[in-house]
């Protein structure tokens, strides 16, 4: 359960909106059910009071929306940022993707977000209500007389199980308290895949990527994917394709995308959250993050604004390509 309450967030937003300090608020909007939250631009206090949501299903990271919304909205925008969102925020600033002056960033603490798929797997389908209690998510369904209680730990999304940081690395104002960078086990899955033989690894990824329907949701939600025109959407690029010509090509899409965001991906996990086919895309990104850490020393994209990512920086003592090649056998 989130420690900070909805009221604190709404009151903050309403006061800044009514004082004219901000023109709009980027927050989570109410859905049909207890869990289907929609990123929403609020422009009035009434809308905020009525539709603003803050609960364990507010996983959406708003940083990328700032690229388009700061251009569209006249005046400042208030944006709520969870700790992991602040890394994307900084990374976008490093890449000069939006005007910092047009944003009022409010940091909110996060206890980790729930994954509705996990909740449904435990409580069953036909969810008619979810209550957020100290004991856990109390889920009422159409088919059970008694509600079921699911602990927050059991409902926790994978990216939050492996939370890398509770620390806000960017904000104008903080609600509640910020935490620390955490020791996470986020590279454990990567290590398992690295330990596979080449054939096993190929089979693993072929199995996962074969489910891809090329909806592009991973790319469209990714805060590191903010090209004005993606090469895959440009009919003149020679690479534009709405469907793979071969199954091999399908795999290339994701690998190319992972390369493109390497060194810039903050590991926010939005790609895997939105994938309709549950492809663990974050594992590709984490592999690159781990390699960069190993080859160039630990680097966290978005930890600060303006840092030189190892892949776009040059030092005399940088690893030679041949060293990377040699490590192939020893690892």
């Amino acid at each position: 359960m989130q420690k900070i309450t909805r009221d604190v967030l709404v009151n903050k937003a309403v006061s800044l909106l009514e004082a004219g300090e901000v023109k709009a608020v980027l927050g989570w909007g109410k859905g049909e059910f207890s869990y289907d939250v929609t990123p929403t631009v609020f422009e009035s206090a009434d809308e905020l009071r009525e539709n603003f949501v803050w609960n364990d299903f507010c996983g959406a990271n708003f940083s990328k929306y700032l690229v388009s919304k700061t251009r569209k909205i006249q005046g400042k925008i208030l944006v709520f940022l969870k700790p992991c969102d602040t890394y994307s925020f900084n990374q976008l600033l490093t890449e000069h993707r939006f005007d910092r002056e047009k944003v009022y960033a409010v940091g909110v603490p996060c206890e980790g977000m729930a994954d509705i798929a996990k909740v449904k797997a435990l409580a069953g389908d036909g969810i008619s209500a979810i209550d957020f209690t100290d004991a856990g998510l109390v889920v009422t369904t159409l088919y059970d007389d008694e509600p079921k209680t699911i602990t927050y730990a059991d409902a926790l999304a994978e990216r939050c199980v492996n939370c890398k940081s509770k620390k806000h690395v960017a904000y104008d104002e903080l609600l509640g308290e910020s935490g620390e960078v955490l020791e996470s086990a986020r590279f454990d899955e990567v290590e398992k895949i690295e330990a596979m033989t080449a054939d096993e690894r190929f089979a693993f990824w072929q199995g996962e990527l074969s489910r891809c329907i090329r909806c592009n949701a991973c790319r469209d939600v990714c805060p590191a994917c903010t090209c004005e025109k993606c090469v895959f959407d440009n009919p003149n690029s020679g690479a534009e394709n709405k469907a793979p010509a071969t199954s091999f090509e399908e795999q290339m899409f994701h690998i190319i995308r992972a390369f493109h965001v390497a060194g810039r991906c903050t590991d926010c996990g939005e790609c895997s959250r939105v994938c309709p086919q549950n492809i663990p895309l974050h594992l590709l990104n984490r592999k690159f993050i781990r390699d960069i850490d190993n080859f160039y020393g630990e680097y966290q994209a978005g930890a600060e604004v303006g840092s030189r990512a190892p892949l776009v920086d040059y030092n005399l003592d940088d690893l030679e390509a041949s060293d990377v090649f040699d490590r192939r056998d020893t690892e």
Binding site: V37, A117, I127, S128, L142, I213
Partner: protein, 340 residues
């Protein structure tokens, strides 16, 4: 009506698979279900909806249409389509069965799409009544009865048996082949189940969603609504909704250069994509608002206008559970006045 015990389910599957390729819902190894070619060892998965709809069977995600070979100044044209084989799909839900009618009205009208038509001719659909509709289900809005699913054969699954009723000549022919494994029975168990299902339908949270504000002739009422801006505000422009949708039928035709010729293929397209229907002059819809509006106007106004009032949504709820920002047709309909 005929029935068989669940204990002989795999024998029934094997019998069907003797004469045709059989597809059943099975695990996709990622928490979801997909229609999978049955073979010994493939387990039937009791699931409400597969992640992708069964429209792939008739309108595949990608398909080669023809090939051109170029020699000097000659162009030769080859029909490279793969011959459709006879196939049976088991476990199609009422909403998805209805989606085939909606696709038929696009692909089987003059000029008939022969690629689609061939698959339709070769396919036999065994539907399955829904005993546990989800909160995201709203097929009732489109007058679909999940207790009486259509299809060549309708099926009902109880705790111990599966009941079958043929609705078409194709269905009767298939049922006749299952004579030995099935027995004649009365309809009592099925009627009991249907009653239960209808009671659940009355409890569904979206039961009051109506189409009253939509349909042919409503273009001018809805097209300029101010609501579109708000509804489309955070749309990512991805194709998730269109690609999991059983009724979305737009496609692109593209050429693949093979080195000494061209393979012309088609693939699903999405009106949510920025390059959708790009022509020589450019794009017809430049903003995401326009693209978003197009998708819902098509389903709720343009399609019914051209198809005797039939809407091109079946209420399966896939877009509700899969949209990355949880924006969907239900929210659109409610915002534009579609609740009792």
């Amino acid at each position: 009506m005929r029935k068989f015990s669940l204990s002989v389910l795999s024998e029934v599957f094997a019998e069907i698979a003797k004469n045709a390729t059989l597809y059943i819902p099975a695990t996709d190894n990622a928490g979801g279900a997909k229609f999978t070619k049955w073979a010994e060892g493939v387990e039937y998965l009791e699931t409400l909806n597969t992640v992708k709809s069964p429209k792939d069977f008739f309108f595949p995600h990608t398909e080669d249409l023809m090939e051109f070979k170029v020699t000097g100044k000659n162009i030769e044209l080859f029909d490279i389509r793969e011959e459709s084989e006879d196939f049976v799909v088991f476990g199609v839900r009422a909403c998805d069965v209805k989606s085939f009618d909606i696709l038929d009205r696009v692909f089987l009208v003059d000029p008939v799409d022969t690629y689609y038509a061939s698959r339709r001719e070769h396919g036999v659909i065994i539907s399955l009544a829904c005993t546990r509709p989800a909160e995201t289900c709203f097929c009732g809005t489109f007058d679909i009865d999940p207790a009486t699913p259509a299809g060549d054969i309708s099926a009902w699954k109880t705790e111990d048996s599966i009941y079958l009723e043929a609705n078409t000549a194709k269905g009767e022919a298939l049922l006749a082949k299952l004579d030995v494994l099935t027995e004649e029975c009365d309809t009592e168990a099925v009627e009991t189940q249907q009653e239960k299902i209808r009671k659940i339908m009355d409890k569904l949270p979206l039961k009051d969603l109506t189409t009253d504000s939509f349909g042919g002739g409503k273009t001018l009422d809805l097209f300029n609504s101010e609501k579109w801006a708000e509804l489309s505000e955070s749309c990512l422009g991805c194709g998730t909704c269109t690609f999991v949708c059983p009724t979305c039928q737009c496609y692109d035709i593209k050429d693949f250069n093979t080195g000494n010729g061209v393979i012309r293929y088609r693939c699903w397209d999405s009106c949510m994509f920025s390059e959708f229907t790009k022509m020589a002059h450019g794009n017809s819809r430049l903003s995401q608002l326009e693209r978003f509006r197009q998708r819902f106007m098509h389903k709720l106004v343009y399609y019914p206008e051209n198809n005797e009032g039939i809407f091109s949504c079946v209420g399966c709820g896939r877009c509700l559970s899969k949209c990355p920002i949880s924006m969907n047709i239900v929210k659109v309909m409610k915002a534009l006045g579609g609740e009792k």
